[in-house]
Amino acid sequence: MTELEPTSRRSRLVGDLFRREGAKGVAVALLSTAVVLFAIGWLVVHSKNWPAVKDSFFNAQEFRDSFPDIAQKFVRNIEYFLIGEVFILSLALFLAVLRSLPGPVFFPLRALAITYVDLFRGIPTILVIYILGFGVPSLGLRGVPVSATFWGLVGLVLSYSAYVSEVYRAGIESVHPSQVGSARSLGLTRLQALRFVIVPQAVRRVIPPLLNDFVALQKDTALVAFVVAVPEAFKEAQIIQNADFNFTPLVAAALLFLLITVPLTRLVDWLSARERGRRQGGAVL
């Protein structure tokens, strides 16, 4: 690997290529990409059933008709995502901190946190959503919400919190023990050291991997659709698909997801590269 310059924080796909290979390299890359895409396109378009497939998956009229409705429902996906994320980030941090509590006194809390994480990481998210979304409302408990959306979302939060708490925990453990030493030498208690010294550093370090989970969560909001009558983009697309006997609405929904997840992914890459640059730039403490 060549030396890492600050420019490597920028678009690494084309930017790096340009630095390494120059304009000619970029041109070659673009040309070969075009050739490959063209070849694939040609193969697909000339396949035996292409006309039928084209009509049922890439029907322009169907796309125009369904897109506005799906896009409208997609707003709900974004809503679920944002609401879910707030709860996930807080619950996960809480779990990670529980798990990092020092000393024998806190053993029960640590055990509880570990059990939680093991449990919810071990069950497929869709099952959690299913069980909660169908199960809890049918219990008919007094004072408990019966909305399937609510419980579907709760399932998403419970499941993701387990994953995200592991990300936080990795961050907490990556902070060098000497930081605790210097905090405690000032007279901070163990909890104060955790709160004011360890956790703030840990959270900063795990922002890129956390964003990765953001991207996954944004996609998985579609899982809530598996619970009946939860309005969101995938469900809406399915409804239209069933009515029109055409799969184009599903493609439209996929496009909408890509619209959010691709920029988010690029943002994560950029942030990760920046974080790497920072750590290399500074003395390793």
């Binding site: 000497s178 930081q179 030493g181 210097s182 905090a183 405690r184 030498s185 000032l186 007279g187 901070l188 208690t189 104060q192 004011f196 010294v197 703030p200 550093q201 900063r204 920072r278 730039g281 500074g282 003395a283 403490l285």
Partner: protein, 258 residues
């Protein structure tokens, strides 16, 4: 020595028969020493001789296996911790400032936030109240203009001076320096030693310094203590140590580092 201010000062820190083992390895084998108010004690010796462990035992970053630490009326013995002891340990730490080999600044805080972290979090002083103190202390270590920089933007020498200011912010009775210049590039050592000299001569700070900087020891130390294999082999004034060493081990060590 004739008439140094500290010579008839009261004993501030008393270490009595301190032992520390890590598993089967006994690192400190019965260390006893008194440090008087205003005194500067330099501890030197081969690595692994227990110097750093002694400092870390003085403020209980390591628990001594047995023995006693007494500072300003706070008396603590080694061994098992209980709630009352933990509280005493915290009081003891508030009265001792520690400077580490690797600086250990908090990287997510600016220089001045590092300095006032102790007063704000431990003493409950508001940030607004603590800031003037932080500015003053940064001024004393010559870094008033770096108050709002993050550690990553500071040189090693500057970071170590911020670390000194951070330790001073708790108004400690005694400052413990654990090889404060060992991790620094040669050209940065001078500024840190100058700051430490200022602490000793102008602020009359009581200091226990583990260092291999024999020039600093000769100039600033009132007393030098030679550690060898977990015991104090020899101690005396710099003059006695440098010019009238009694033990061949001490001589050999000095010849090696000078």
């Amino acid at each position: 020595m004739t008439d140094p201010a500290w010579a008839d000062g009261e004993v501030l820190l008393r270490v009595d028969d301190l032992h520390k083992s890590f598993g089967h390895l006994e690192v400190l084998k019965g260390i006893s020493m008194d440090v008087r108010t205003g005194e500067v004690v330099v501890i030197f010796g081969r690595s692994g001789s227990g110097k750093s462990t002694l400092l870390r035992c003085i403020n209980f970053l390591e628990d001594p296996t047995r023995g006693t630490i007494e500072l300003h009326g706070i008396q603590l013995t080694g061994g098992h911790r209980n709630r009352a002891k933990r509280e005493k340990i915290r009081k003891l730490r508030m009265r001792t400032g520690m400077v580490f080999q690797q600086f250990n600044l908090f990287p997510h805080l600016t220089a001045i936030q590092n300095v006032i972290e102790g007063p704000v979090t431990v003493k409950g002083v508001s940030e607004a109240e603590a800031r003037p103190l932080g500015t003053e202390l940064l001024g004393r270590v010559g870094l008033a203009d770096k108050a709002d920089e993050y550690p990553i933007r500071l040189s090693g020498g500057q970071q170590q001076r911020v670390a000194i200011a951070r330790a001073l912010a708790m108004s400690p009775d005694v400052m413990l320096f654990d090889e404060p210049t060992s991790a620094l590039d040669p050209e940065l050592i001078g500024e840190v030693l100058a700051t430490m000299r200022y602490l000793a001569t102008d602020m009359h700070m009581t200091m226990v310094v583990v260092t291999h900087e024999m020039g600093f020891a000769r100039e600033v130390a009132h007393r030098m203590v030679f550690f060898n294999e977990g015991v104090i082999l020899e101690e005396g004034t710099p003059d006695e140590i440098f010019n009238r060493t009694r033990f061949p081990e001490t001589r050999r060590f000095l010849d090696a580092v000078l």
